[in-house]
């Protein structure tokens, strides 16, 4: 399970995604294997939770 993150102005943080189980901040960089796992999770039809309000 993953969650989107937001910037201070409330816009979506498009540089990272958060893994809920450990709160990990995962950079949206293709070479990062945790991001690769997120992309596989998305490809299975899953959807990340919306970001908390700042």
């Amino acid at each position: 399970m993953y969650k989107k993150l937001s910037n201070i102005d409330g816009t979506e943080n498009i540089e990272q995604i958060q893994r809920i189980v450990d709160g990990a901040y995962i950079p949206r960089i293709e070479a990062n294997t945790d991001y690769q796992a997120y992309l596989e999770w998305l490809a299975e039809g899953n959807t990340p939770e919306e970001a908390d309000e700042t």
């Binding site: 943080n13 990272q16 709160g23």
Partner: protein
Amino acid sequence: MSVAINGTNGITYNDGSLQPSAPVGKNLIINGNMQIAQRATSVTGITSGGYYTVDRWQQTLSGGGTYTQAQTALTSSDAAFADGFSQSVKYDCTTAYTSANSFSVHRQIIEGQNLQQLAYGTSSAKSVTLSFWVKSNVTGTAVASLYSADSSRQISQTYTIDATNTWEYKTVTFAGDTASAFDNDNAASLYVNLVMATGTDYTSGTLRSTWTTYANADFAAGQTIDISASTSNDISFTGVQLEANTTATPFENLQYGQQLALCQRYLQSSWSQGSAIGSAVSITTNSTQQSWGSNNAGIAGQAFLLPVTMRTSPTLVVYDMALNVGKVTTLGNGAAQINNVAANNSATTTNMFYVRMYANSKVGIAFAHTLTAEL
């Protein structure tokens, strides 16, 4: 001064000292002597694949079985100790499991940009030799193999464990792949596999002694050893070296700091060397602290430069002083601490990271952290 030059052993001087024949940096394996264990020195109850103890070494585990994995010290009674190794990694089966589709492998994955000197994909592709020490209570045949993630090709060799509970030195040589190159980048290219356990789905084919397209049935063909078959079973490794050569040469020993820096390209943490990740933290031990001395609202944060540039932008996990993951501890006047507070923002690059708080009325935050950029 007289010297003796030997193609395998290198140059032996008249005082008996040895200058290995291959250049510095010959070992393509990182932490082959199992010296660095940033995560932990012992992990029990392992039921899935991952990185657990010694750095850079991944245990794959699929289908079933439970393991304890530990960095284990060698003593003067161990043959590998006499060869200069003080640490090993031990895999101990604690719940047995056998099925056709199960397997477990002691594996290291290497970046393609660190393999370009092998000239794969050309007529000059170099042979590589894998050497290592192994000890197990189980005797028989095991498989060592290479797999290219860039070409989905593999090559395998077998070796035998001849005596129970005895350190044995093994070498296997693999021909170079003239047909397929490694990508020149920071992604996973070469999987170095020492198979520990496997079901028949992976042994029913033919041993691949030349580079050919991967097939499950051939992955561990020839393997008879199955560490997962009994809770009496264990296997240990150390002194793993992969070098561009047709014979094995003496292990390339690095200073501790050099080895640690190579490992930190893939994993860094705030925990001190010798303290397992997830062990106790405080604002003065195993943690990072940011203090900005203001009670006013706003944005506060601090960027930390990393001691070693990482392979790619790493995944950041933060822990508060009560070890709640994904949370930080805020520090108030008089160092009052509040745990379980969500940080508002963070970022990582290959050489820095930061954690921010928005509209915060405290005077600082403290957190422990890990940065992971494994393959």
